[in-house]
């Protein structure tokens, strides 16, 4: 009994149960619609794992949402709901694109410059939200939604402006190749590179057919940074105190307002970093006219919640989400079931993540009952 209770109390147990429930509900929906669930899941998994380039694409897809998830999870730990990750991502993409296009230094200077300009723009966008909350008490959800739309229109304005619009396209001019953060961008298409790769089939497929880049490494580093900041630093102690009880933190001499601004600056920087890695690391290396939100930030919300707002958990939840998004396309291609089943599945997983939060509480009750019985 105690052993069961111990397992049930672990957060990972709830998450796994939620994922299983997500698959179960998706299976029921597919079966009800007249599709074979096992064929669908077969297509999903082979769409994720069957070729090296698929795995590479899943990781590429997971990169931005892992970083925006970190942005959301970090703010959530400080008691702030960063629904503005979407806007911070967009504005980061605009900044990275513009700086990468206007400047053309050697990569050693160019790459940090482009990446950091995206980070700075995201931080600014998040920081304003934090400032408005700290200074005027305006709800961060309200300002976040407004700033998402402002970023959306700024992006479209830049794309359509005479200075940056590439003729006969719906996009801005791409960044200069010196900004690229793919793995060996020049070598892999050179004669020497092609000669070496000839002997390595998997490596060749991954390098030449996908934009394999340094983004996910950066995302892992960012996750470790956020974890260290939250759990291994004095500042993190302050931040979590603000998240747990604002009044108590204030009473203990922690400046709540200052910490709110710092939190939103960092959260915005993480979302901006997500955009920088996409612009520098994946084709087409530029921003396009948006007709609707691309959900890089909004998906980060889901990833963060699947991860239970744990920074390290975001890496795995990001990969799961990226895998479902990417592999889900092959469900439609192979068995004809609408690919939206993936959205239903992800939504269900998130829903059950909310529901299964009750499990650790039940485990405590189970444990108490066990002790009670033992006492008898």
């Amino acid at each position: 009994m105690e052993k069961t209770a111990k397992i049930l109390k672990k957060p990972i147990t709830s998450t796994i149960i939620a994922i299983v429930c997500g698959f179960a509900v998706a299976a029921i929906v597919l079966a009800a619609a007249g599709y074979n669930p096992s064929a669908a899941f077969g297509a999903l998994f082979s769409g994720i794992f069957s070729k090296p380039k698929y795995i590479s694409n899943v990781i590429i897809k997971a990169t931005p949402i892992t970083l925006t998830a970190l942005s959301v999870a970090f703010a959530y730990k400080v008691g702030l709901f960063n629904i503005g990750a979407e806007g911070q991502y967009i504005i980061g993409a605009v900044a990275a694109n513009l700086v990468g296009y206007l400047c053309n230094f050697p990569p050693i200077i160019q790459i940090p410059l482009v990446v950091l300009s995206g980070v700075a723009a995201g931080a600014l966008w998040g920081g304003i939200i934090g400032f408005l909350k700290a200074k005027f008490g305006i709800h961060e959800v309200l300002t976040s939604i407004m700033f998402n739309w402002i970023a959306f229109y700024i992006s479209n304005w830049v794309v359509s402006s005479a200075r940056f619009h590439e003729p006969n396209s719906t996009a801005a001019y791409p960044v200069n190749p010196s900004s690229y953060t793919m793995l060996l961008p020049n070598w892999k298409t050179s004669d020497a590179g092609l000669a070496v790769l000839k002997g390595h089939k998997a490596l060749r497929e991954v390098l030449l057919k996908t934009d394999v880049n340094f983004g996910f490494v950066i995302a892992i580093a960012a996750a470790v940074f956020v974890w260290m900041l939250l759990y291994r630093s004095t500042k993190g102690y302050e931040l979590r105190a603000v998240g747990l009880n604002r009044d108590a933190a204030e009473f203990a001499g922690i400046s709540v307002n200052k910490n709110i601004i710092i939190t939103m600056l960092i959260a915005g920087a993480l979302s901006g970093l997500a955009a920088s890695m996409v612009i520098t690391g994946t084709d087409p290396h530029r921003i396009s006219t948006l007709s609707a939100f691309e959900n890089n930030g909004f998906n980060g919300l889901s990833v963060a919640f699947i991860a239970g707002s744990s920074p390290i958990g975001c890496i795995f939840a990001g990969l799961l989400f990226g895998g479902l998004l990417y592999g889900g396309q092959s469900i439609q291609a192979n068995i004809g079931a609408p690919s939206e089943i993936i959205n239903i599945m992800i939504g269900t997983i998130v829903f059950f993540v909310a529901l299964t939060a009750v499990i650790p509480k039940l485990a405590v009750r189970l444990e108490k009952r066990g002790m009670h019985n033992a006492a008898k």
Binding site: F136, M146, F305, N343, G347, F351, V353, V358
Partner: protein, 307 residues
Amino acid sequence: MLLNNLSLLIGNTFMYSAPLIFGALAGVISERSGVVNLGIEGMMTVGAFVGAAVGYFSGNAWVGFLLAGIAGGLFALLHAVASVTFKADQTISGIALNLIGPGLALFLCRLTFSGATMTQPVPHKLPKILGGAQRNIVAQNFNFDITVILAFAAMIVLWFVLYRTKWGLRIRSVGEHPAAADTLGINVNRTRYGCVITSGILAGLGGASMTLAVIQQFTPTAISGQGFIALAAVIFGKWTPQGAYGACLLFGFAQALSVFPGLAHTSIPPEILAMMPYILTIVVLILFVGRSVAPKSDGLPYEKGVR
């Protein structure tokens, strides 16, 4: 000419605000009872699809409108189960609904409309208040969709219920201090269930007023962000029906301005015009509105016996 332009602007403002108003009222009723509803977007999308699909197959827009409300209410039941019975994190549950709702709507759309992500146009939209097309341009611009009137009526009814009836007093007390309400014999859980389901019905109607009045069919972008704008309007309007209504009119005006032909040949880029309302909102908040304080127990699950 001026009169024509002005009436066009006003007409479009009301047209675009109607779906937002339903969505915002959905947020108000849920949050006043203490349940944060971030799932308005998802609920509106479900309503938008059901409204258009039923409107198409039955040929009667009113049947579509009605069923959209019912579908929204049923969908909201998920949120109620999670946030009231399971005492789950309401933010997470709401976000989940925003994923499931559009997913389900598009999934069903592809199944019923042979793989297409949009429904066929409905044969008849919901009626306009003056009936068919008007010869006079001004009259035509003021020939509002019936949903504009319904949205106004819904705001009045919700205001009346919340502030002038015992039911409203109960809802508000449950949202502010559920433990105190409980000791007075009010069933906190049942009240919250009722409010969340009503919230879903309103959001569903909001979605349908998009696809049965503003446009004539369901498309993947029919509901794109309206639910979040509605959410912003709830906070902007300080969780009151009348405040949220006013905020929605501002956002509707914004949208009307961005499609206003009179501004097409000015030197201001259309994107800058389109973002003005959001900037204006922030300015208004800083200068006049200030601190927005949610109902005291908004977002907190109620557990008996816990102080």
